[in-house]
């Protein structure tokens, strides 16, 4: 087994531990505590939740590392943070901070129109969004250790995540036909 595949196996194994759980977006240490107490398996530390990013407009970037650290110090559950699509330096910064997972996220403004981050180059596991099996396979091939189907973030509307999506999600047999 090469070093790369054993690392990927380790990272995807880590992500398996979150299975069956809820991961919550939090913007403060207080919110992170509430999420932990409610039984979240992990929190996503970010400056603005998607509905506020939507309202704010402009370019959405990685959150302030000080704010991410404050959340990491507040809880014992894993902390995730978002990097922009293709922004491998934001990912390097998040890895240096010691976050438990990096989300290469479409909720932030993409930093590269052609490439996603080479996630095999990192020790920290990545979660990535996908809308279909092709996207999922490309992300896993790039080293993603966990996937999330992309509903429409910040809408509070499950139609995208649920009915359009999950019924045909890569987790079901529908894709085999």
């Amino acid at each position: 087994m090469t070093v790369e595949t054993s690392t990927w196996a380790t990272k995807k194994g880590l992500a398996q531990m979150l299975k069956g759980g809820v991961i919550m977006d939090v913007v403060t240490a207080d919110q992170a505590k509430i999420a932990e107490d409610a039984g979240a398996v992990a929190v996503m530390a970010l400056e603005r939740v998607p509905s506020d990013i939507r309202a704010m407009g402009g370019v959405a970037r990685m959150s302030d590392p000080a704010m991410i650290e404050a959340i990491m110090n507040a809880v014992t559950i894993p902390v995730m943070a978002k990097a922009r699509i293709g922004h491998f330096v934001e990912a390097q910064i998040l890895e240096a901070l010691g976050v438990d997972y990096i989300d290469e996220s479409e909720v932030l403004t993409p930093a590269d129109e052609a490439h996603h981050i080479d996630k095999h180059a990192f020790k920290v596991p990545f979660v990535c969004g996908c809308r279909n099996l092709g996207e999922a396979i490309r992300r896993i091939n790039e080293g993603a250790a966990m996937m999330r189907t992309k509903g429409e973030a910040g809408t509070g509307n499950v139609v995208e995540a649920g009915t359009r999506w999950c019924g045909r999600s890569p987790g079901t047999v529908a894709y085999r036909s």
Binding site: Q16, L18, K19, G20, G21, V22, I23, M24, D25, V26, Q31, I34, A38, G39, P50, S51, D52, R54, I85, E106, V107, P110, V127, C128, G129, R131, A136, I137, R138, I140, N141, A144, A145, M146, M147, R148, T149, K150, G151, E152, A153, G154, T155, G156, N157, V158, V159, E160, A161, G162, W165, C166, G167, S169, P170, G171, T172, V173, Y175, R176
Partner: protein, 100 residues
């Protein structure tokens, strides 16, 4: 990898659902549809009572196929986040189409 996915009928990594989950029923819906977990973004801290909503969504994700428990945890949660209908959202404002 494609062969393995075709054979197993599932991805080789854990697969969650994200985007648009704002009630315990939403979480249970995607779990019944085959999700292996959920991300809740704006749905918790944009609701009226975040601590209760957070707890209710965790319960609903665990007991997604038990409608009695779902009914119980859905009681008296206050207002969920306001929400946006898809037809009110301009194509240029859509986030899910980012990435390829």
């Amino acid at each position: 990898m494609v062969r393995q996915i075709a054979r197993d009928g599932r991805l080789p990594v854990v697969n969650f659902v994200a985007g648009g989950i704002s009630t315990p029923a939403d979480a249970a819906l995607v779990m019944q549809l085959g999700a292996e977990g959920v991300f809740v973004g704006s749905g918790i801290f944009k609701s009226e009572d975040p601590a209760r909503m957070a707890n209710a969504i965790v319960q609903a994700t665990t007991h997604f196929d038990d409608a009695k428990i779902l009914a119980e945890v859905s009681k008296g949660l206050g207002a969920p986040m306001r929400g946006i209908a898809m037809e009110q959202l301009a194509e240029s404002d859509r986030l899910a189409v980012r990435g390829w």
